[in-house]
């Protein structure tokens, strides 16, 4: 019984943490068609922000807005300086953002050094759920992320801004013809995607290894999610995270860590081959 509870909590954690990490990439790709290779570095910047805030002796809660603003500001700089010239040139944006990712990684090395950092969780210890101990911080994280996703989903479906974004996504030319400022909207979407990557890094910081190369790991797992879930929708993010996160956690429980990773790779390859649009294709 205890094992079953811990296992299902682990699976939920795997799925939810992955969805959180993918969100930024999915927003930018889904809405703008830009494959942001610097996504992982934006996550890293969020995590380093958490470390910096904590080592300055400030409460970790303060790191959340700081991380979102820092990553969002970098996203804004990326957009106005480089990305906006490259919309509708997918391969060029790929190369450009890849270059930016290297730049950001080196900047992180200069600012924070090469060694591993660790962030102490704001709420330590464990909660006992039906006789099984589970880390308190993870429970809080899962609750917060699920609430955040629900809010985002409702906003996107119901609000005026959401409608305009959807109009821009469906037909950019027509959208600008009816008076929607697509350039401004695109910039906001990009900044939002970057900020949510930073936020994800900040939230995950107490649970992960923080070093300058961490970004690559998160970029890869995020890609797998998009491959499975389909590109460009919140539903796709959740379905993709469910398949990848669930399969990885379940397979590693049975086969060990390496086995879990192999399973994820095999699933991704099968999807690219047999169902390239993913489970929840937009078009």
């Amino acid at each position: 019984m205890q094992e079953a509870i811990v296992f299902s909590l682990n699976v939920s954690y795997g799925i939810i943490s992955l969805a959180l990490l993918v969100l930024g990439l999915a927003i930018i790709f889904g809405l703008l068609g830009v494959l942001n290779m610097a996504h992982g570095e934006l996550v890293a910047i969020g995590a380093y922000t958490a470390w910096a805030v904590q080592s300055a002796g400030l409460p970790l809660l303060l790191a959340l807005p700081v991380a979102a603003i820092a990553a969002g500001a970098i996203g804004w700089l990326m957009e106005i300086s480089i990305i906006r010239h490259l919309y509708r040139r997918p391969f060029d944006t790929l190369l450009a953002t890849w270059g930016i990712s290297i730049l950001l990684r080196e900047a992180i090395k200069i600012c924070f050094g090469l060694e591993y950092k660790s962030v102490i969780e704001p709420v330590g210890g464990s909660i006992t759920i039906l006789g099984a101990d589970y880390p308190t911080y993870r429970i809080w994280l899962m609750v917060a992320v699920v609430l955040g996703f629900v809010g985002l989903f409702l906003w996107y479906r119901r609000s005026h801004a959401g409608t305009r974004v959807r109009a821009m996504v469906a037909n950019p030319m027509l959208a600008s013809a009816v008076g929607i400022e697509t350039a401004k909207l695109a910039r906001r979407a990009f900044v939002l995607g970057a900020a949510s990557a930073g936020l994800a890094g900040c939230l995950m910081a107490p649970l992960i290894r923080i070093d300058p190369y961490m970004g690559v790991d998160y970029l890869l797992s995020s890609f797998f999610v998009l491959v499975v879930g389909g590109l460009g929708s919140l539903q796709g993010v959740f379905i993709g995270s469910g398949v990848i996160g669930g399969a990885e956690t379940a397979a590693s429980t049975i086969l060990g860590g390496t086995g879990g990773y192999v399973t994820v790779l095999v699933i991704s390859i099968l999807f690219l081959w047999l169902k390239p649009g993913g489970l929840y294709a937009r078009r």
Binding site: V6, N10, Y116, S118, I208, D211
Partner: protein, 386 residues
């Protein structure tokens, strides 16, 4: 001055400078190369290694240097892949002309550096190591599994009635060597191994391992994870409530790692090493006082790895002075049986390893408390790669 006189004086001066050159070399500073981790998972050991090295060099120079020469420390980063450490070692040796290397880094890098040096340079390896190896002109001062585990496993097994051990470590030669030794000692206490696993340095999710430890019913976990990996594992271990099920014993959980793990997650955790900041022998207290007076109360906390760098410099001085030279052959001829006194007490070199006292400590919150002292434990030097 006429032409003839000019020639005479010039030649005279040249000849004099030739004759004087050996004495001039004597006056040249003695360069020592320190390979310490400034990056990667072991990066948390870097700052304390640097401060203790600085302190050792200052003390040696204040007391007249080594063989009458002032000593200068040069550093190389040993936190990355073994091939990077080898490059750093080569730069120190070939370009900077160091006369000995002192290494405080992982065992995989030691194998690579020793293979590159092929005995051409005296190489003092200071941290915890798996023992059982030997390289020409390489001297290991750190704790071996025979020292850390032979007395400690029976002690803990008796104290807690331990029967089921789970072994977890990073995937390289030191954890595997340590666990090979551990299996013998565990078997001798009548215990059994219920699990054994090795992880790459980059792993930061130990959920699977924790599930396995829970299911295995282990009552003791021997941890040979390093630095950041150890911090992540131990935090998750306690937050999943496994500290109630099993005690933890680490052979490289030092003060920095403990600080990272945090007081909330250190329940029922033991560490075994030759040195702790909490050590209260007169030699250790004196060392401690000098250190914190010199670098301030918020200096990098003292630990067995940092202290090892200090010992490395002191051992090298003892070896060079016993040999009366920095030549590798002379040092090798004189090294066996050389003793020096450091914060651990008197340490004696034998067959490339060092016999020293070993301590078992337990975490009380975020600091260690010494539980037991084991005197002059032999390093066990069954050399298998002659």
């Amino acid at each position: 001055m006429d032409r003839r006189n000019f020639l005479k004086t010039t030649i005279g001066a040249l000849a004099a400078s030739q004759i004087a050159s050996p004495t001039w070399a004597q006056g040249k500073p003695l360069k020592l190369g320190f390979l310490i981790p400034k990056s990667g998972p072991a990066g948390i050991f870097g700052p304390s290694s640097e401060t203790t090295t600085t302190m050792a060099i200052e003390e040696i120079n204040a007391s007249g240097g080594i063989l009458g020469r002032q000593v200068e420390a040069l550093y190389g980063d040993a936190g990355g892949a073994p091939s990077d450490t080898v490059q750093a070692a080569q730069r120190l040796w070939r370009r900077d002309g160091v006369e000995a290397l002192i290494g405080q880094h992982d065992s995989a890098s030691r194998e690579a550096v020793a293979a590159m040096l092929r005995g051409q340079l005296t190489y003092v390896y200071t941290p915890v190591n798996e023992g059982g190896y030997c390289h020409t002109n390489t001297y290991s001062l750190g704790e071996t599994p025979d020292q850390q585990l032979a007395p400690v496993i029976p002690y803990l097994a008796k104290e807690h009635g331990l029967k089921k051990w789970y072994l977890i470590g990073n995937d390289y030669v030191w954890p595997r060597g340590t666990n090979a030794a551990a299996k013998t000692y565990i078997a001798e206490t009548g215990g059994e191994i219920v699990g054994e696993e090795y992880h790459p340095f980059t792993v930061d999710n130990f959920d699977t391992s924790l599930t396995r430890i829970r299911e295995s019913g282990a009552d003791a976990v021997l941890i040979t994870l390093v630095g950041g990996a150890s911090v992540t594992f131990n935090r998750a271990f306690a937050s999943f409530g496994l500290d109630k099920q099993a005690i933890r014993l680490g052979t490289l959980i030092e003060e920095n790692t403990l600080a990272g793990i945090g007081e909330a997650n250190s329940n029922r955790m033991y560490s075994t090493a030759g040195y702790f900041d909490a050590l209260d022998t007169p030699a250790a207290l004196a060392f401690r006082k000098t250190y914190y007076d010199r670098f301030g109360a918020d200096a990098p906390v003292l630990n067995t790895l940092g202290e090892g760098c200090y010992e490395g410099a002191m051992a090298l001085r003892a070896m060079f002075e016993a040999a009366g030279s920095t030549e590798t052959d002379a040092v090798a001829a004189a090294a066996n049986g050389v003793s020096y006194t450091g914060p651990r007490g008197t340490t004696t070199l034998s067959e490339g390893f060092a016999a020293s006292d070993i301590y078992l400590a337990t975490a009380k919150g975020a600091v260690f408390e010494i539980v037991q002292r084991f005197e002059k434990v032999a390093p066990g030097n069954a050399c298998t790669n002659g």
